[in-house]
Amino acid sequence: MTDILFYLFAGITLISALAMVLLPNAVNGAMCMIVSFIGTAALFVLLEAYFLAILQVLVYAGAVMVLFLFIIMLLNVDEDRSKTKPAKLSIFAALAGFVMLSGLIISLFTDPAALPAPPAIEVAENPTGLSANNGIPFTTSAKSFGYSLFTKYMLPFQVTGFLLLAAMVGVIVVSKRVTEAKPESETTD
């Protein structure tokens, strides 16, 4: 049953990602991107990372894509309005690169002799404490996230909080109007 679900969600994710790249309209692309993110969240559920699946839907499919759609709506840009057509050679080069990269990936991971395929390790019950290889054992509860964030990953957690503050200040600085800073305003708008 889960095999069918894996193929279903992997197909949805890949096809909608390809549609995002190939559709000429940016709004349609953003909608396909949301479908792709939700498909990835379903794959996270199949991998028993339930907390990350919820986080993926909330942050990526929710906040990030809403931000993208707002900017697409505000800027109202289309590739048809740009006069110059892209060179045939660059399109061919991009497609050839994509075909070669995907062929490399498929041939690398489908050969059974190339890489070992380990079985899935049983989900641990106790979220706290370290396993034999000095790693936190895999659990499905959100408690292990909190335990890990405040013990092993304390410094990255603090740095990430500071990074969010820096990004917030940076967005305000970048998007602020600079009218009085330049009295000799070159009339670009």
Partner: protein
């Protein structure tokens, strides 16, 4: 579940390749930025599958941090694109060649 680690890695790798196709093929800066998000997402999928099949939680924690950094990056990148549009009235990459003139 009989699906192994390699199947998930194929999906993650193909997602990454599609994101790379978007970055090289498209000329709209917003679509290029969305393709970058797609590549980050592919790496997230690979990290979660490695974490599941290794039996440790560390990959999931990395994905947690990557999602946080990606959210901050999207906010800042879109602010830069809007500032660019305010100055240039265009976000197509072929119009953004000021350094070559």
């Amino acid at each position: 579940m009989t699906i192994g680690l390699n199947a998930f890695l194929i999906v993650a790798g193909l997602l990454f390749a599609i994101g790379m196709l978007g970055v090289t093929l498209r000329r709209n800066t917003l679509v290029i930025f969305m393709s970058l998000e797609l590549m980050l997402n592919a790496v997230n999928l690979a990290l979660v599958s490695f974490s599941r099949y290794n039996g440790t939680m560390d990959g999931n924690l990395f994905v947690f941090f990557i999602i946080t950094v990606a959210a901050a990056e999207v906010a800042l990148g879109l602010a830069i694109i809007v500032a660019l549009f305010k100055r240039r009235q265009s976000i197509m990459v072929e119009h953004l060649n000021a350094l070559s003139r």
